[in-house]
Amino acid sequence: MSAPTLTPAATATPVRRSRRFTMKPSTAVVYFIALIVVGFTLGPVIYGVLSGFRTNAQIAENPAGFPSPFVFFNYTGVLTNPSFWRYALNSTGIAVITTALVVICGVMAAYPLARYEFKYREGVFMVFVVGLLFPASVAIIPLFILITQNFHLGNTWIGIALPQAAFALPTTVVILRPFLQALPKELEEAAQLDGASRIGFFWRILLPLSGPGMVTVGVLAFVGSWNAYLLPLLLLGPQNKTLPLGVADFSSEHGSDTAGVFAFTSLAMIPALVFFLAMQKRIVNGLQGAVKG
């Protein structure tokens, strides 16, 4: 799509010494393409939100129209539905526990892997690197048995959070290690001179300084848990469903109530979107870190 628009712009400009902006595809072209791309990415989201403000009759009459008039009962219906709030609470609880587990275990593991010299260091690190390859779906059936039958944690928040945290650990360690390695050596030596042990150094200097890195991995773990579907699908019973499960169930149970499904789905999007907008820099940094790491 972009190549044909690029080539004429480039060939039309004779090769000459000048400022680089004259060589680029014109700004108007770029804005036009950007508009198309944004329309493509946001179209379905906006369609979903707007359709939540329509009645089923409106949607049946013209599926692609605007709400006229705007109706609010779909949204109020969802917001007064106790199930929705229960799902939201479950999602939040599970995501918070997962995030806490991942960040605590991850930063603790990353510290010696980054700043100690020991025989099996690279070996231990490789365990986590290889762990990046393990999809949850491979282990899903044994996990189901382990959680429900051995630990009797089926249908509990912690029963979901533990495996989710375990599967999020590789990314966390892989992102945090270079981050901790980058902290200057002099800090450690200065702390040593002041008589701090390495554990003291960890608590008083390293942890406060690695705040940004921990927020990054924390955000990634939170969003991952918030959006997770497969594990909750197998492990959670009706009372403990998370929002993604709720969305899927609502859409199949109320298939004829198109507007209601759109309202439910739109409201389920909001927490992830808000969280993302607030933390956008961190998410992008984290993914970048994962790519570079």
Binding site: T13, R115, F118, V124, S137, L230, Q280
Partner: protein, 346 residues
């Protein structure tokens, strides 16, 4: 104690000790002076150091082994039994589950679908993502907003995105069909997801929508790492914008692209949520993936042995591809990269 720390830190800083597996770092031969002076203390110190390391690494390793490694080992074990999930595993069948899975055309079709998705994701998203990233890589009004908006689909849960798309794609009453009707474009009778020949392409379209933003964001981030002077130098040499992109920017983006392709490949092999929501693997299994196959076998038919065999095969395929990729393509990045990384560590 202090001696031990200074020696180990000097070892870490010296590039010669890049292979820590060769021996314990507590007694490095190179820094003989302080090490010898503190030898009497190193016994206690090294014991203490080991305890510290164990203390820090243990929680993560326990969690990881208990909920990742152990279940995978168990999956291998279950895959050799005929087992419905209740009672002890007694019906040992050896590799029979693997044979039956690999002879099952439902599973081999699923593998083919997975590979189609892997290739299509890269072939479609790479040029599109690269093109968009190159165009947006300039100072322009609303740049931050644009990047945010492009990234939105990636942050949504696959389930949420899938439900919206499924509603959009409902035959006749969905938004897509309505738009097509207004433009007088014919649409398939059973809808895009219900027509066997179009279903997989439609799923790939939705996956592209979901993950294109990630490619763009990563490429843009990689582009920021290209030093400004290079552009200026190329400008002075009279290179056009297009030449600069082709000869300088894109090659320098190589490592980012290769890592993105790796992530994309692993993700596409594991794809489950979106397919499960959009089609459930249908119509007539035309969109099934390895993951949907094994979940179906495990939950709907209670064939835990079969499902586990399928999951082990999925894992082996992912592992082999990852290793091959690492050896052939990523190797280029990691090797010349090493000296640079060392410098950063210092």
């Amino acid at each position: 104690m202090a001696d031990d720390v200074t020696t180990s830190s000097s070892v870490a800083a010296s590039p010669a000790s890049s292979s820590p597996q060769t021996g314990p770092a507590i007694l490095p031969p190179r820094v003989a002076g302080p090490a010898r002076a503190g030898r009497r203390k190193t016994g206690v110190a090294s014991w203490r150091k080991r305890a510290e390391i164990a203390f820090f690494v243990a929680p993560a390793l326990v969690l990881f082994f208990m909920f990742v490694v152990w279940p995978i080992i168990t999956a291998v074990q279950i895959s050799m039994f005929k087992w419905k999930g209740i009672g002890p595993m007694v019906d040992f069948v050896g590799l029979a589950n693997y044979v039956s899975v690999l002879q099952n055309s439902l599973f081999t079709d699923a593998i083919v679908h997975n590979f189609i998705i892997v290739i299509a994701s890269i072939v479609i998203q790479l040029p599109l993502g690269l093109g968009i990233a190159l165009l947006l890589n300039r100072k322009m009004w609303g740049q931050g907003l644009l990047r945010t908006l492009i990234f939105v689909p990636y942050v949504l849960a696959e389930v949420v995105a899938g439900v919206v798309w499924r509603q959009l794609l409902v035959p006749r009453y969905g938004g897509i069909d309505a738009i097509a009707r207004a433009l007088h474009i014919p649409t398939p009778e059973q809808g895009f997801l219900g027509t066997p020949d179009l279903a997989l392409a439609t799923v790939i379209f939705v996956l592209t929508w979901k993950y294109l933003g990630l490619a763009v964001i990563l490429f843009l981030a990689g582009l920021q790492g290209v030093p400004e002077d290079l552009y200026e130098a190329a400008q002075l040499d009279g290179a056009s914008w297009w030449q600069v992109q082709r000869k300088i920017t894109v090659p320098l983006l190589g490592p980012t692209v290769r890592t993105w392709a790796f992530l994309s490949m692993i993700g596409a092999l594991q794809v489950f949520d979106m397919v499960w929501i959009l089609t459930g693997g249908g119509p007539v299994n035309r969109t099934s993936t390895m993951a949907t196959f094994l979940i179906y076998q495990g939950t709907k038919s209670q064939q835990f042995g079969i499902a586990s065999a399928a999951s082990v095969i999925l894992f082996v395929i992912a592992l082999v591809l990852a290793v091959l990729y690492q050896q052939t393509i990523l190797r280029r990045d990691t090797h010349p990269d090493q000296p640079r990384r060392k410098k950063k560590v210092k």
